[in-house]
């Protein structure tokens, strides 16, 4: 019965999003619990699951409406900014906080990453007068910087730009239109964030 609802109510886009989310959560569970199951690991798993869900929702919303969900993205940005500032003030001299496995959360590195990526995106928005890039993507760029940090920006950039390019080219060939073709960037940014986070874990 439930599978029937899934088949009838979900179209291909939703199925792809659900599949990718499930895959990333399974991979996350494997990465977090492969060594041992502790209360700290469970807490981190729940925190990251929540984050993955929010990011996937934002990606889905952008994919459907070509818009960034205002309140969700704003709350996420504020909470991440507060978290990074607090951690920076608490562990000022530290080179980073080892969260789990190989993942070291470095608030200073993250804030630098957010400023650099946010500035580049804002510059593109200002120069092109929002024709080349949407203002909403700047907010997600800040969130990206705060999540993955400066040191992982290049890997994230590769994943994001190449996946967006492949999707854009497929769409362009389908529509037979290259000029003024706009594609949602947020799903690919989220794909980049999830990939980078899962790789560094």
């Amino acid at each position: 019965m439930r599978s029937q609802i899934f088949k009838t109510k979900c179209n291909t886009t939703e199925k792809v999003f659900i599949f990718l989310l499930t895959l990333s959560l399974l991979f996350l569970a494997y990465k977090v619990f492969c060594e041992q199951i502790t209360i700290q690991n469970v807490f981190i798993f729940l925190l990251l699951t929540g984050l993955f869900l929010v990011l996937t929702f934002l990606a889905y919303f952008d994919f459907k409406k070509m818009e960034v969900h205002n309140t969700t993205s704003l709350y996420l940005l504020i909470s991440l900014a507060i978290l990074n500032i607090l951690l920076y003030l608490i562990f000022k001299d530290s080179t980073g906080i080892r969260v789990i496995g190989e993942w070291v959360y470095n608030p200073y590195n993250n804030m630098i990453g957010a400023i650099v990526l946010g500035s580049i995106f804002q510059l593109i928005v200002l120069i092109s007068k929002e024709k080349a890039l949407g203002q909403g993507d700047v907010r997600i760029a800040l969130i990206t910087g705060l999540l993955i940090g400066m040191s992982n920006l290049l890997e994230w950039g590769y994943i994001t730009i190449f996946s967006a390019l492949i999707y854009g080219l497929i769409l362009a060939f389908k529509k037979k239109k290259f000029k003024n073709l706009k594609i949602p960037l947020l799903p690919f940014m989220v794909l980049g964030i999830l990939s980078v986070l899962l790789l560094v874990l």
Binding site: E130, G134, G136, A164, L171, A172
Partner: protein, 124 residues
């Protein structure tokens, strides 16, 4: 808030990203090469101490000893030349040239005074 990117922008960003990637790759490669050279140098320097010890040992066994000898290790070798210092009796000059299989060279010259007990060794 708008959340899109023009395909043209993606195409413009791509070469910039590739350039940044290539730059990063070159930097990493250079760092690796420098680190390897530094490591090799450290190992060779440590090995050349063995040659110095051998030279001092030879002089201790026979204080008149002068000449050249080679020491061969697994992946390194050194040539030690011992000469008397002109005008100074009992003072020897030890010239050590070490090299490894990667072509790293380490040259050091020491002065050994055998008139004192224990011997005094100093850099030139």
């Amino acid at each position: 808030m708008k959340g899109y990117i023009a395909l043209t922008t993606v195409l413009v960003i791509l070469p910039l990203l590739l350039l940044a990637g290539i730059n990063s790759l070159y930097k990493s490669t250079t760092t690796l090469i420098v680190a390897k050279m530094s490591y090799d140098y450290g190992i060779l320097k440590s090995n050349s101490e063995t040659c110095l010890e051998e030279a001092v040992y030879k002089i201790k066994r026979g204080s008149a000893y002068t000449g050249t000898f080679n020491l061969l290790g697994d992946s390194w070798s050194c040539t030690v030349t011992i000469t008397n210092k002109d005008g100074f009796t009992g003072v020897k000059i030890i010239d050590i040239l070490s090299s490894d299989e990667n072509g790293t060279l380490y040259k050091t010259i020491k002065e050994l005074n055998t008139n004192t007990d224990p011997f005094e060794i100093s850099n030139i």
